[in-house]
């Protein structure tokens, strides 16, 4: 049963019942048997639910609910005592019910104190100030309407005055606590809201009773005060029954929003109420604690000013943090409106452009820093891609742009454009740009280095290789067997060294993007024919047959690739197949048209590749066996280059193999689009630099 009513559906039913009960209480004739019955049921329901929640709630919330249980129990005790006293004629003021009622506040304070302590840990200056403002306002109003009349009342003796004063003073304390609870609220849960409503209803009932006491200490409470109490009891029961009761004392996760409109409005009322009361007092010249009120007004105004100062400094601080973040960024960040005028420019942007903030902000960025093309001619705003992106609200990455510094010099930039969207509407763009001149210089240095290395390696290699080949061919006269063997060895290894230099340079140029692919429309069948023709000498020497299986109609085999590079790839794959094939075996090269690709397969019947090495054959120096490169005269880079070329051409390369039965390398290439602007079919012209 304890767990049952915390199911959301049961809980909604409970809320409905409670509202119906309160309405019934309002409608029913006061003090009738039905009224008493419903009131009693409400009290019992509240006690049972509070007791159940207190037992089952987690440790953090348990203290809160036990305190609330005690508070309700004592309150009901006081009410019962009042009824008993009234029925036995022992009424009067003050009496035992008043004492019990005063004592009932103690657990209420403990419960709310625990709640505040658990829920709002840490230092919360704004909450303190806001609570103080509202509390001082409350003190002023209480002092004026409740406390002053009681102290001035001639009907009360000393003891009665103390008891009569205890009610509004305790209520004031309860109100201050409630205010604290509300102003510190992070995300209010149902349980927290209902608890606050319950305390507020109790407080209202008390205040009306206090007012009634001021008028006539001996009079009993009006009927609607009882309705308020019943509603307070019902709200407390619902709070305890709500699904969020268990988490009521969990620490507030978020930082409460300090400047919501309702909150600021409430604070404004709190701030204005006190001077208004003071003004009213002075105007009517009625007696009252005017000095006290004036003091309250001053305190409230000081607190309000402090609060405003905190609000302003918070905003300023947030702005400083934002600026600091932007200024700490290494990239230039510039905010533009839809017309391309600069809204803000961070430190890096100003430094790179040698501009002060005033040189940029409020001016059109294009006119300041992007108005000239590399050749010095004006760059029209309408042709500028940065400018068009500002209005279109698209994201883009721009390269090959030049920005102009304030002193007229220019530097190459890369730009990232992102739209500036406020509530779904494109209001401009943020561009972040980076000076890439250093990187371009580094690229140039690297390019020169590679060119020099290439030259410096190839020149001695030319002499070594050439001399050995001349010796080997017997141009300078016959060699004896030992000499011939040594020279052959030297020739083979100088060949390998030459290939290695070529492959390393190829890879470097592929990596650095300096081997631009020049795609053209070529026929895959022709590519295969040419590769086979180019390598048939080596195949013949190894006693291996090369077979091209191509469809009769080659019309579907047109692909869009760089013919020189693809020739290099196919020659490499065929060369590998020859190396790893047995003498007298066969290598098949096939080409088939697929939906949007042409598949080229080169299948050998060689020794195959072990399964665990299939994944790495395309890696650099990823040969199946460490000694392969040496023994077979390869470099270990051929397949890496092949993969690089094929993937950069928009194709794929893969391998399937069965150990001992052979391997099949498959290359897919993008077909030539008929609407392709690449132009007419280009003859596949193999270049000498095959691997």
């Amino acid at each position: 049963m304890v767990e049952d009513y915390r199911q959301p559906r049961t809980w909604i039913l409970g809320v409905a019942t409670a509202i119906a009960a309160i309405l019934a209480l309002v409608v029913l004739p006061h003090r009738g048997a039905a009224w008493n019955f419903i009131f009693l049921v409400t009290c019992l329901f509240s006690l049972v639910v509070l007791f159940g929640t207190s037992l089952s709630a987690p440790r953090a919330a348990r203290g809160v609910w036990w305190s609330m249980f005690a508070f309700q129990l004592l309150t009901m005790g006081a009410l019962a005592m009042f009824e008993w006293e009234a029925s036995t004629g022992r009424g009067g003021f003050p009496s035992l019910d008043d004492l019990i009622y005063v004592v009932a506040y103690l657990p209420a304070f403990i419960g709310l104190g625990l709640l505040i302590h658990r829920r709002y840990p840490g230092h919360d200056r704004e909450a303190w100030i806001d609570a103080s403002i509202l509390t001082v306002t409350a003190i002023s109003i209480f002092g004026l309407f409740l406390i002053a009349p009681i102290t001035a009342s001639p009907d009360l003796d000393n003891f009665s005055t103390v008891v009569a004063l205890a009610y509004p003073l305790l209520d004031l304390a309860l109100l201050a606590t409630l205010i604290w609870l509300l102003v510190g609220t992070g995300q209010p849960t149902a349980a927290l809201t209902l608890l606050a409503v319950s305390v507020a209803l109790t407080l209202s009932a008390d205040i009306f009773r206090d007012l009634a006491l001021v008028d006539d200490p001996a009079a009993g409470p009006a009927w609607w005060i009882s309705v308020l109490r019943a509603a307070a009891i019902a709200a407390m029961a619902l709070a305890a029954a709500s699904p969020s009761a268990a988490t009521i004392a969990n620490p507030r996760g978020d930082r409460a929003v300090r400047a919501t409109t309702p909150r600021l409005a409430l604070l404004a009322v709190g701030v204005l109420a006190v001077p208004a009361i003071v003004a009213a007092r002075l105007w009517t010249e009625t007696a009252g604690p005017t000095l006290l009120l004036a003091l309250a007004a001053i305190i409230v105004i000081i607190l309000a000013v402090w609060r405003i100062q905190i609000l302003v400094s918070t905003v300023q601080q947030q702005r400083r943090v934002t600026e600091l973040v932007l200024d700490s960024a290494g990239d230039g960040i510039v905010g533009l409106d839809r017309e391309g005028f600069v809204l803000f420019a961070n430190l890096a942007a100003r430094r790179m452009l040698l501009c002060r903030e005033s040189d940029l902000v409020g001016r059109r960025f294009h006119d300041v820093a992007h108005h000239e093309l590399p050749d010095g001619t004006p760059y029209p705003w309408l042709e500028c891609p940065v400018s068009s992106l500002v209005t279109s609200g698209e994201e883009a990455f721009l390269t090959d742009q030049r920005y102009i510094r304030r002193d007229g010099t220019a530097f190459p930039v890369e730009i990232v454009m992102s739209p500036l969207v406020i509530e779904g509407v494109v209001t401009g763009a943020v561009q972040s740009f980076r000076d890439v001149s250093e990187r371009q210089e580094m690229d140039e240095i690297k390019r020169q280095f590679v060119a020099v290395v290439s030259h410096e390696l190839r020149t001695p290699l030319t002499s070594i290789k050439g001399s050995l080949q001349m010796l080997n061919a017997g141009i300078t006269g016959p060699l004896n067997d030992d000499q011939q063997e040594l020279v052959s060895m030297a020739v083979a290894n100088s060949d390998r060294l030459g290939k290695l230099v070529n492959d390393i340079l190829d890879l470097e140029r592929l990596d650095s993007g300096r081997m631009p692919l020049e795609p053209a429309v070529v026929n895959a069948g022709d590519l295969i024919d040419q590769a086979i023709a180019g390598i048939s000498g080596a195949a013949g020497a190894a006693g291996i047959r090369l077979v091209a299986e191509l469809p009769a109609d080659r019309g579907d085999l047109d692909v869009h690739v760089d013919p020189h590079r693809l020739h290099q790839v196919l020659t490499n794959l065929l060369g590998n197949a020859i190396k790893f094939s047995e003498r007298n075996s066969e290598i098949r090269a096939t080409a088939t048209a697929e939906d949007d690709a042409v598949r080229i397969a080169i299948a050998d019947r060689g020794r195959g590749i072990p399964e665990d090495r299939l994944a790495t054959v395309f890696d650099r120096f990823g040969q199946v066996e460490g000694g392969d490169a040496r023994r077979e005269g390869g470099t270990g880079l051929g397949l890496a280059i092949a993969r690089e070329i094929v993937e950069r051409s928009g194709g794929t390369i893969s391998v399937e193999s069965t150990l001992g039965q052979g391997s099949t390398f498959t290359v897919t290439l993008p077909i030539a689009d008929e609407t392709d602007p690449a132009g007419p079919t280009v003859e596949a012209v193999p270049e000498g630099a095959a691997t």
Binding site: S463, G466, S467, L505
Partner: protein, 123 residues
């Protein structure tokens, strides 16, 4: 009378190897020069049937020497073939675009070099 070839290369060994290849294997009448200016001096004496010109040379590189040859009063139309250690691709295309009969690559095969040269020139 055999074809006359002028080999221009700043590297002594490469120059000697090319000379030996073209004369011993190809049977051409080969003279050599170690720089662009030596090449021009040699052209003053005699205009060969072809100039095999290294691309990367100090002070006056291949293209500069080519310009100087084309600017001569005599022998300005002598066929020129570049000999490059460059890696191909765009660089080679740029060389081909100049007024040359062809581009040979280093390292070259001295047994094939005379043939390749002859094919380029239609000999």
């Amino acid at each position: 009378m055999s074809r006359r070839v002028l080999v221009v290369d700043d590297d002594d060994d490469v120059r000697r190897l090319a000379t030996m290849s073209l004369s011993r294997v190809g049977g051409y009448d080969v003279r050599s020069a170690a720089s662009g200016s030596e090449c021009l001096a040699a052209l003053d004496e005699e205009i060969p049937d072809v100039v095999v010109l290294d691309v990367m040379m100090p002070t006056m590189d291949g293209p500069a020497t080519l310009d100087a040859i084309r600017a001569r009063r005599t022998g300005y139309d002598v066929p020129v073939v570049f000999l490059t250690a460059g890696v191909g691709g765009a660089d080679v295309d740029r060389l081909r675009a100049l007024s040359v009969s062809g581009v040979l690559h280093k390292p070259f095969d001295p047994l094939q070099l005379p043939n390749e040269l002859g094919e380029m020139l239609g000999w």
